[in-house]
C-alpha cells in the first residue's frame, strides 16, 4: 500500500509539473505564435539601391527569416521618389497583414511630414515602430574641386553653396537647419534618387557639397570627398581629424538612424513578433559580421528608444518649420 500511495503521489506531482511548469516553460523557450506570416514579406525602402540603408535592409532581409515562424522569403523593394516620401506612402497604404515592412531614415520620414504637411501622404505617428539601427552623426562634406576646409570657409564663400540632395527628406532638412544655425548661404540641387547619386553629382561637379551620414560619406573619401564638419558632440573614431560642429562654434547635433516599421493598424502581436526577431537578429554574430563587412557599424535601439528619437526629431523640425517650408517651396 505504501508503494501504491507513493506511485499515486508521484503521478500527482508529475501531473502538476506538466500542467504548471510545462506551459510556462514552453512560453519561455518558444513564444506561442498565433500569427501566420505571409510566405513573402517585402521590405520597402524609399531610396534607390546602393545607399547605406538599402544595403543594411538587404542584409536584414537575408538573415531575418530564420527568426520568424515559417521562415518567410524577404524581398527588398526600392521605391525612390519625392524625396523619400513615395516608399513611405506605399507602406502607409499597405495592408497591415505582415506582408510589408517599411525601412527608412527616421529623420527623413519625420522631416518630410514637417516640410510637406498633408502632402507628405502619411502621418508618421500612425506607423507601428519596431526597432532602429544605423545610428550615426550627420556631416557636411565638400567635393575635391573646392577649397573649403571649414564651416567658416562656407560662410566666407560670398555665394550660396550648392548642395546636391534628393529634394526632400532629411538631407534637405539637415542642410537647411545647419545653414540656419551656422549662418552660411546655400542653394539646393534636388532630384537625385539617393545619396550615392547625389555624391556622384558632387564628384562630377554638379554641386560643391553634400550632407549625409558619416559612415556612408566615409566610403567616398577615396574618390576625393572631403568632410569638413561632423554634427556631433565628439569627434568620431573614423574621422579623428575632422572637427565637430561644436568645435567650430556651432553646437549642433544632427543624427541619422534607420527605423523598421509597420503599416498603421498592424496588430500588437505582429509587432511583438517582429521586434523579438529583430532583437535576436542583432545579437547574431554572422549577421553583425555581414554588416561590418559592408563597412557599417551595426547599432541597435529598441522600440522605446526609437520612439524617443522620433519625439526629439519632431521637436527639432517644429523649431525650423518655416525655414523648411520655404526651402521646399523654392524647389517646387
Amino acid at each position: 500500500m505504501q508503494s501504491i500511495f507513493r506511485r499515486d503521489f508521484c503521478s500527482l506531482i508529475a501531473a502538476l509539473f506538466v500542467f504548471v511548469v510545462g506551459p510556462s516553460g514552453a512560453a519561455n523557450a518558444q513564444p506561442v505564435k498565433s500569427i501566420a506570416l505571409p510566405h513573402t514579406i517585402t521590405i520597402v525602402f524609399p531610396f534607390a539601391a546602393g545607399g547605406g540603408g538599402d544595403v543594411q535592409s538587404r542584409i536584414v532581409a537575408r538573415y531575418l527569416p530564420k527568426y520568424l515562424p515559417g521562415a518567410p522569403t524577404f524581398i527588398v523593394k526600392n521605391e525612390p521618389g519625392a524625396g523619400g516620401r513615395t516608399g513611405v506612402q506605399t507602406v502607409y497604404r499597405s495592408k497591415a497583414d505582415g506582408s510589408v515592412i517599411g525601412s527608412t531614415y527616421t529623420a527623413g520620414a519625420v522631416g518630410n511630414q514637417a516640410i510637406f504637411g498633408d502632402d507628405a501622404g502619411y502621418d508618421f505617428a500612425k506607423f507601428v515602430l519596431l526597432t532602429s539601427t544605423y545610428h550615426q552623426p550627420y556631416t557636411i562634406a565638400v567635393g575635391p574641386q573646392t577649397l573649403y576646409k571649414s564651416i567658416a570657409d562656407l560662410k566666407k564663400a560670398g555665394k550660396p553653396i550648392p548642395f546636391c540632395n534628393e529634394g526632400g527628406s532629411l538631407s534637405l532638412a539637415y542642410i537647411v537647419i545647419a545653414a540656419k544655425e551656422m549662418g552660411f548661404p546655400y542653394r539646393l540641387i534636388p532630384g537625385y534618387p539617393g545619396a550615392p547619386a547625389a555624391t556622384a553629382g558632387m564628384l562630377r561637379g554638379d554641386c560643391e557639397a553634400v550632407s549625409y551620414g558619416l559612415e556612408f560619406t566615409n566610403r567616398y573619401l577615396k574618390e576625393g570627398v572631403r568632410p569638413i564638419a561632423v554634427h556631433g558632440s565628439e569627434r568620431h573614431e573614423l574621422w579623428p581629424n575632422v572637427p565637430t560642429s561644436k568645435e567650430q562654434g556651432y553646437p549642433l547635433e544632427l543624427k541619422i538612424d534607420m527605423v523598421f516599421y509597420l503599416p498603421p493598424g498592424s496588430s500588437a502581436e505582429l509587432a511583438e513578433l517582429l521586434r523579438d526577431a529583430l532583437t535576436k537578429l542583432y545579437q547574431n554574430k554572422e549577421f553583425l559580421d555581414a554588416i561590418r563587412a559592408a563597412k557599417f557599424t551595426p547599432t541597435f535601439a529598441g522600440t522605446k528608444q526609437t520612439q524617443r528619437f522620433v519625439s526629439e526629431l519632431t521637436k527639432l523640425y517644429s523649431k525650423y518649420a518655416s525655414e523648411l517650408r520655404e526651402a521646399e517651396a523654392k524647389i517646387k
Binding site: P38, H39, T40, A329, K332
Partner: protein, 170 residues
C-alpha cells in the same frame, strides 16, 4: 484607306487632346513643376497639328506617300495598313469586348473563375476550337496561374467583388 484616314484623324485628335491636357493642367503647378510638361506638351501638340495638316493636305492632292516633314523616302505602310482587306471594325470591337469582358470578369468573380471561363469561351466562340483543346488549355493555365501565384509566390489573387474583395481606392 478612307477608313484608315478617318481613324487616324480621330486618333490624332485624341492625342492632341492628351497633349493639351498636360499643357493646361501643367500651368497650374509651381515653376519647376510646370516647365517640362508645358514645354513637351506644347511641342507635342504642334507636331500632332502638323501631322493632321499633312493628312488634310494629302487628302486634297493625290497620295504621294510622303508624310509631312518626312525623310524624302516613301513612308512604309504598317502591316495593318497592308492587310486592310482583312480588317473588320466589328471584329475589332469583339476583340476589345473580350478584353473588357475579361477585366469585368476579374473584377466581379476574380482570376480563378475568369481564367478558365475566358479561355474556354474565347476558344469556342471565336475559333470553334474543340471542347477538349479548350478545356485542357483552361485547366493547364488555371493550375499554372493559381499554382504559381497563390501557392508558390503566396500572392493572393483577386477574388472579385462578388466574393468579398474590395476594389482598391482610386
Amino acid at each position: 484607306m478612307r477608313k484608315l484616314s478617318e481613324g487616324r484623324i480621330i486618333l490624332l485628335i485624341l492625342l492632341l487632346g492628351c497633349a493639351l491636357y498636360f499643357v493646361f493642367a501643367g500651368l497650374g503647378y509651381g515653376r519647376n513643376s510646370r516647365l517640362f510638361p508645358v514645354a513637351v506638351g506644347t511641342v507635342t501638340a504642334v507636331l500632332i497639328l502638323l501631322d493632321l495638316a499633312s493628312l488634310w493636305a494629302s487628302g486634297l492632292v493625290s497620295r504621294t506617300g510622303v508624310g509631312a516633314g518626312g525623310s524624302g523616302r516613301t513612308e512604309v505602310p504598317s502591316l495593318t495598313e497592308r492587310e486592310e482587306v482583312g480588317y473588320s471594325g466589328a471584329r475589332l470591337m469583339r476583340m476589345v469586348g473580350w478584353l473588357l469582358g475579361s477585366a469585368l470578369g476579374v473584377g466581379l468573380v476574380g482570376f480563378a473563375l475568369t481564367v478558365p471561363v475566358f479561355i474556354v469561351s474565347f476558344g469556342r466562340v471565336e475559333g470553334r476550337a474543340s471542347w477538349v483543346a479548350c478545356l485542357l488549355t483552361a485547366v493547364v493555365f488555371f493550375i499554372f496561374i493559381v499554382g504559381y501565384f497563390e501557392f508558390f509566390m503566396r500572392i493572393r489573387m483577386f477574388r472579385g467583388v462578388l466574393f468579398g474583395d474590395l476594389l482598391p481606392l482610386i
